[in-house]
Amino acid sequence: MQNPVTKFAQETISALRDGQPGILEDLYDQFRPAFLAWAGKRFRTTPGDLEDAWQDAVVVFYEKVMSGRLTALNCTVRTYLFAVGYKRLLKNYRKINRFLWQDAVDKALKNNPELVLIDLDDIWEEERDLLLAAMEQISPRCRDLLLKRYYEETSIEELMQRFEYASHNSVSVTLANCLANLKKIIQEKSST
């Protein structure tokens, strides 16, 4: 019989992959107050930074699930999210050192050092600005289509239905054109 903890994690991951609406928002709301309180005890920082770390934690979880890099957990979803947020905060702030007890997050991080790898920031600042500016420049429909395909990992079949295309081929051709346009803008911006 499957462990109820991992079963819940598995159900959450499957629901996200299936595009079930509201799942991410529910996770965000459900554990947010607890994270802010928990992390607030460990780091000397502002509520805004704690909030930012929580958003990053949820985003990292979402991206890893959608890209297929996270298909199962050996801890609760809550512990995973807290661990990501914790690592995020560690990057920029000093931790309050002394704790009389260890909780599930400490144990999860200790037992699985590879549990979460933050890869949000490995890019030059000017490169980030350039890429975002290029995205700003493409048409809203292209942007939406590219986001659905390459960020939300939506299938061609689903894109065909959602954007009312006549065939798979039309979706693929439009996607290729949108991507080519984005590349052209990036190339132009890189050379100025």
């Binding site: 991410l24 928002e25 965000y28 709301d29 947010r32 107050p33 607890a34 000397r44 909030e51 958003q55 990053d56 949820v58 985003v59 979402y62 991206e63 690592k87 560690l90 990057k91 920029n92 000093r94 931790k95 309050i96 050192n97 002394r98 009389l100 790898l117 933050i118 890869d119 949000l120 920031d121 490995d122 890019i123 030059w124 600042e125 000017e126 490169e127 980030r128 890429l131 975002l132 290029a134 995205m135 942007r143 590219l146 986001l147 390459y150 960020y151 939300e152 290729a176 991507l179 984005l182 590349k183 990036i186 190339q187 890189s190 050379s191 100025t192």
Partner: protein, 279 residues
């Protein structure tokens, strides 16, 4: 780029290739510059989409009306008691509250040289003492002129005890003047970051700082021809310095003449001064 290559690159980044196909793509990436450039552009475009998607998702989450935590007042009394217990525990256990500050930056290391007679370089942003314009050999002239490239955005706040990204590790070593470590950590960067003009410029500077001007010049020569105007201008300056450090005086002079004639170059005045000293 033909349609077949476009699809191949797309499938490569989606990790949809067979092992044989993947190996073949990686061989081409190593040997075919046009194919590699197309792949890197694809990676950038996907990176742009993900950056946008991430920013959009964060905004969507942040803009939602907040739900109240159910039962947040229910255990107030228990929380007060717990708080009191924690305060008492804290009182009887007077340990330091914060981690020790990060250790002071280590002094710049001096690795084995690939060209003799080059004095060590200072960390970025620190000036070298001025040398007398007369009787100074090229190596000394280089040492008195070379200041490793720096800019405000290079300063990172990552601490020693925190998980780091490869980029932060590279930057931290570089800004601390630990150029050997910077060169070593460059190898751990992802391909797109390795090929970014700024990264190439920093690597070349680390090589110059560790007295490897020939290797530095090999990086700076293409960079100085780059379409990216800012890094091309810096590339030309450091290429001239690496030629000076290698003792290629006529090439260094020719490069410096070009910089002196370029009113838009931020190194114009330095080139003029250096040319005077070289006469």
């Amino acid at each position: 780029m033909n349609e077949q290559d476009r699809l191949l690159i797309e499938r490569y980044y989606r990790q949809e290739l067979t092992e044989a196909e993947r190996l073949s793509v990686e061989q081409r990436l190593a040997s075919d510059p046009a194919f590699r450039a197309a792949a890197q552009l694809h990676e950038k475009a996907i990176g742009a989409i993900r950056l946008w998607g991430r920013a959009d998702l964060k905004k969507r989450l942040a803009d939602r009306p907040l739900k109240r935590e159910p039962g947040s007042r229910k255990g107030l009394f228990v929380h007060v008691l717990l708080l009191l217990a924690v305060v008492v525990a804290w009182w009887i256990w007077p340990a330091p509250l914060v981690d020790a500050p990060a250790p002071a930056p280590a002094p710049p290391t001096v690795p084995p040289v690939d060209t003799p007679a080059l004095p060590p370089a200072a960390p970025p942003g620190r000036s070298q003492p001025a040398a007398s314009p007369k009787t100074i050999p090229a190596a000394e002239l280089f040492a008195s002129t070379f200041k490793p490239y720096t800019e405000a955005s290079l300063q990172v706040t990552v601490r020693d005890n925190t998980p780091q990204t490869p980029l932060n590790t590279f930057l931290q070593s570089y800004t601390r003047g630990q150029y050997d470590q910077a060169i070593a950590s460059f190898e751990l960067l992802p391909a797109t970051l390795k090929d970014a003009p700024k990264t190439q410029l920093l690597l070349a500077n680390a090589l110059l700082a560790t007295r490897q001007p020939v290797r530095a010049a090999a990086i700076l020569a293409p960079l100085s021809q780059s379409a990216h105007a800012k890094y091309a201008a810096d590339g030309r300056w450091y290429l001239a310095l690496s030629q000076l450090a290698s003792g290629e005086l006529s090439r260094a002079r020719a490069a410096l003449e070009l910089i002196r004639a370029d009113a838009s170059s931020s190194h114009q005045a330095e080139a003029r001064d250096l040319l005077k000293k070289l006469q």
